[in-house]
């Protein structure tokens, strides 16, 4: 088989760090034909590439990471009926790892791949049916948006939410940055659409137990926890909420616009579940909807794709002891404040009175190597908004302690101007400590903040009544669990990694699974909606086809060599192998070509088709032979 090699210069990214000319010379001297293009992924580059492939030839591309544009070149090669295709990441694995070693690494990669290609036998492309259903994990604003869009286009959508009510954190927001409009006006119409949409099946209080199957045909097992209130009977009148003797009440319907409008009984607080004979809520319910005997229910679904929208949570601020959260009265987080605002609760300062002087502390835990080494981007806007509201509603003196103000959208700057006009003060400096012990005895009864105004003044202690901590974002608890159930990649902080941050932000490395919202990194409301709808679009594109093409026929079984130990059957993580009359059978819809069986086979009777062990051994041989 003749192999043609294509180099992409990547607009200088590769050619500036790697001597392509020398590489070309080296490869040409051993009889390989080499082509080079400044942008192989551009229209011209693709045409250049396509025109030079002849049927039956092998193609080796040296460009960027296979995750980025690998599929483009692969499909073009298939279109031209190339016999073998392989791509090496010259950019990431050679050019960008240091100029000195670039050439060596590149020649190793290329010669190794050339050798491996001679063993290559392409997997067979086959069509598989796609189940139409879509599972959306997480009922926050991103999940909602995705579910609604997909359901609108006729997909059956299953929306799973761990909490008893839908809407996530957005329902507990009071006003929105930067226009200070009412958040509930934007969220609640979506929530009502949720109930009306026929294609949408809601699973509140539910988590995923198991995911099996392959892209296009996942089998999902869900567990729905008991609500102890019959959703068929309950009309959401709220009579039961008023009679609960426990404080805080054991039966609640927390959000301002609860969806579903059905209360929940918290078994941990409820007297009935603690062995007492209380059943006041049951007695007062006119529709006999209370069901103390309810038990968890299992649901089994078949879906074609999954959207993960597990969202974020604010950094647990109690991990920063010197800010006194949960220890000092009058120290609350922004999310506590929003909750108080939406429920129109009274807000009290350190001394139990209405706050007259308030500090808003930005970057709590953020950009801190000991806590969150990154910036969450959107908290500045949230903090600014909260500061203005506090100023307007309490006519309090408001001080912002910030490091850098990162305000998104052009309107952010307008909001900042508005805040300054209203007399909100801005101090550039991180707060080092919040303490109940005053520096000056006359400040007793207030909280003392230590900070330095790094832009001048030099005043270093402030006495305030209320402190609003604005923490950064971390992935929601339980997202690691979802990641390991779905085998998704996460970054070092636990956010889900997309296939490619810029060009494929809602796709994952797994076909048929997409991510939406703050699960992949801090996002504000509009970005969450945006990514939710983008994920829905991707899901629709995939699921609305009744089938999709994927590679099969990955392994080869040599009957003569097989010792019938069937280790392979045991090893296969996807149960794709089984024994049929003393012969090995592969269930091709389940096999994904991981190669665990081949490496487990003690007699070498199983071989991977695309790159068998001989290919690896031989490519190691040439790789080391180079030096």
């Amino acid at each position: 088989m003749k192999v043609k090699v294509f180099f992409c210069e990547c607009g200088g990214n590769i050619s500036e760090n790697l001597d392509l000319k020398a590489l070309k010379k080296e490869l040409t001297s051993s009889g390989t034909e080499v082509f080079q293009h400044p942008f192989l992924c551009s229209p011209e580059g693709q045409a250049f590439f396509e025109a030079r492939i002849l049927p039956g030839e092998g193609v080796l591309v040296g460009a960027c990471s296979p995750h980025l544009h690998g599929s483009i070149f692969k499909e073009l090669a298939e279109k031209r009926r190339a016999q073998a295709f392989h791509l090496v990441a010259l950019r990431e694995e050679a050019a960008w790892l240091g100029k000195k070693g670039a050439y060596r690494r590149a020649i190793g990669l290329l010669k190794g791949a050339l050798m491996a290609l001679s063993y290559y036998r392409a997997p067979v492309l086959k069509k598989f049916p796609v189940t139409e259903g879509l599972l959306v994990v997480g009922g926050g604003i991103a999940g909602l948006s995705a579910a609604l869009k997909a359901a609108e286009k006729g997909l059956p959508v299953y929306l799973v939410e761990r909490e008893p009510f839908f809407g996530g954190k957005a329902v507990f927001l009071d006003r929105l940055y930067p226009r200070l409009e009412c958040a509930s006006c934007l969220v609640s119409p979506r929530l009502s659409a949720l109930i009306q949409q026929e294609n949408l099946h809601l699973f509140p209080l539910t988590h995923i137990l198991e995911v099996k199957g392959r892209p296009g045909a996942y089998e999902v097992t869900l567990e729905e926890k008991p609500r102890y209130v019959d959703s068929e009977r309950c009309h959401g009148c709220g009579d039961c909420l008023r009679v609960c003797p426990v404080n805080p009440p054991a039966i609640t319907m927390d959000p301002p616009h609860p969806v579903p409008r059905i209360p929940i009984i918290h078994a941990a607080r409820c007297l009935h579940f603690r062995g007492e004979s209380c059943s006041r809520c049951k007695e007062v319910c006119a529709r006999k909807a209370i069901r103390f005997e309810e038990t968890p229910r299992l649901h089994r679904l078949r879906v074609g794709g999954i959207i993960v929208a597990t969202g974020f949570r604010p950094y647990p601020v109690e991990k920063i002891p010197y800010y006194g959260y949960k220890r000092l009265p009058g120290v609350i987080t922004l999310w506590d404040l929003e909750r108080m605002f939406t429920r129109q609760e009274n807000i009290y300062g350190f001394n139990g009175e209405s706050p007259r002087r308030v500090a808003v502390i930005h970057c709590v835990g953020s950009r801190d190597r000991r806590h969150l080494p990154y910036c969450s981007e959107i908290c500045c806007g949230l903090a600014l908004k909260a500061g203005i509201l506090l100023r307007e509603r309490f006519s309090a003196e408001v001080y912002h302690f910030y490091l850098d103000l990162r305000l998104k959208t052009p309107e952010g700057e307008g909001l900042l101007r508005r805040a300054k006009e209203k007399g909100v003060r801005f101090i550039r400096g991180q707060v080092a400590e919040i303490s109940e012990v005053p520096l000056n005895p006359e400040d007793e009864g207030r909280l003392t903040l230590l900070a330095e105004d790094t832009l001048g003044a030099g005043q270093r202690a402030w006495a305030v009544d209320l402190v609003i901590l604005v923490p950064g974002f971390v992935p929601e608890t339980g997202s690691e669990e979802v990641a390991s159930l779905l085998r998704l990649c996460t970054d070092q902080f636990g956010f889900f990694s997309p296939r490619e941050e810029k060009t494929a932000p809602v796709e994952t490395l797994r076909k048929g699974i997409w991510i939406a919202g703050a699960a992949s990194g801090p996002k504000d409301l509009s970005e969450s909606v945006l990514s939710g709808e983008a994920a829905a679009l991707e899901a629709l594109l995939f699921l609305k086809n009744t089938s999709f093409r994927t590679e099969t026929d990955w392994i080869e079984w040599e009957e003569q060599r097989c010792g019938r130990c069937w280790l392979c059957v045991e090893v296969c993580p996807f149960k794709a192998l089984h024994i049929d009359l003393d012969r090995l059978k592969v269930e091709e819809t389940l096999c994904c070509g991981c190669g665990l069986c081949a490496s487990a086979c003690p007699s070498g009777a199983l071989r991977m088709k695309p790159f068998p062990r001989e290919a690896q051994l031989q490519s190691l041989e040439v790789l080391f032979g180079e030096t």
Partner: protein, 258 residues
């Protein structure tokens, strides 16, 4: 039980009451306190201005004398200096070989097995004081104060004082400033800052209705006593422990009139 310990220079003068109360406690608990033979000064804060080698030498000499054993250190500043030197000797082979060479002048050897350095606060958590409490003793609320060098940069158990004092029968009042700075060596500079620092520390103890402040460091006690305005009872935690065990105040270095 025999305990090897490093008394530090202040035990003879400035913190004589600390030293007396430790001795009294030890004899009550039947511990055999054995001072490190021929110990020398750790150099206090002055090593910060002298060349690095001087401070290292002063500490290494003590470390060499105690090698391989467990060394109890009572003074916080000595604890810090010894720990710091030990870390440098462990991590930096160049300093280690230089120190070995210097110590040869005195015929000492820096064995590879450096001593385990233990602060007094942590050491006393090994003892269950509730067993020794005097039946006549009635505890009163005390606040605790660790100061800097037991907290940073080589942190010890920052619940140790709470543990031992509450076992001895004192209601211990939690304070937020327990690891803050008392001003250290600042008195030498005649600075007004130290008054504010000490006032704030005592303000908290008073605000939270403590009847006394238990400290673990001679310098902290000195500062708090001199600059505490208005005065507030400040005692070494060992003195408080001694009172709970029923030891006479005069043996603990507490003056009669109080």
């Amino acid at each position: 039980m025999k305990v090897l310990y490093y008394p530090g220079c202040s035990s003879e003068h400035l913190a004589r009451d600390f030293y007396l109360s430790i001795e009294a406690l030890a004899s009550f608990l039947a511990l055999e306190l054995e001072p490190l033979p021929d110990w020398n000064c750790c150099g206090a804060r002055e090593i910060e201005e002298a060349p690095e080698g001087v401070g290292l030498f002063l500490a290494s000499r003590n470390l060499a004398l105690a090698s391989g054993k467990e060394l109890l250190v009572t003074c916080s500043l000595c604890f810090h200096n010894l720990k710091r030197a030990q870390n440098i000797l462990r991590e930096n082979p160049i300093w280690r070989s230089r120190m070995a060479e210097v110590l040869k002048d005195e015929g000492l050897e820096l064995s590879p097995d450096l001593p385990r350095i233990l602060s007094l606060t942590e050491f006393l958590t090994r003892i269950d004081f509730s067993r020794f409490r005097s039946p006549h003793f009635r505890g009163f609320p005390v606040a605790v104060y660790y100061g800097c060098f037991l907290s940073r940069p080589y942190p010890t158990d920052l619940q140790a004082l709470e543990k031992v004092l509450s076992a001895a029968g004192y209601p211990v009042i939690p304070t937020t400033l327990k690891t803050h700075c008392c001003g250290g060596h600042l008195p030498r500079t005649d600075s007004p800052v130290i008054k504010n620092l000490c006032r704030r520390l005592l303000f908290e103890a008073r605000q939270k209705n403590a009847s006394g402040l238990a400290v673990a460091c001679p310098v902290c006690k000195l500062n708090l006593e001199i600059y505490g305005d208005p005065p507030f009872p400040v005692r070494y935690f060992t003195q408080y422990l001694g009172l709970a065990l029923g030891i006479s105040p005069s043996w603990l270095g507490i003056p009669e009139e109080e």
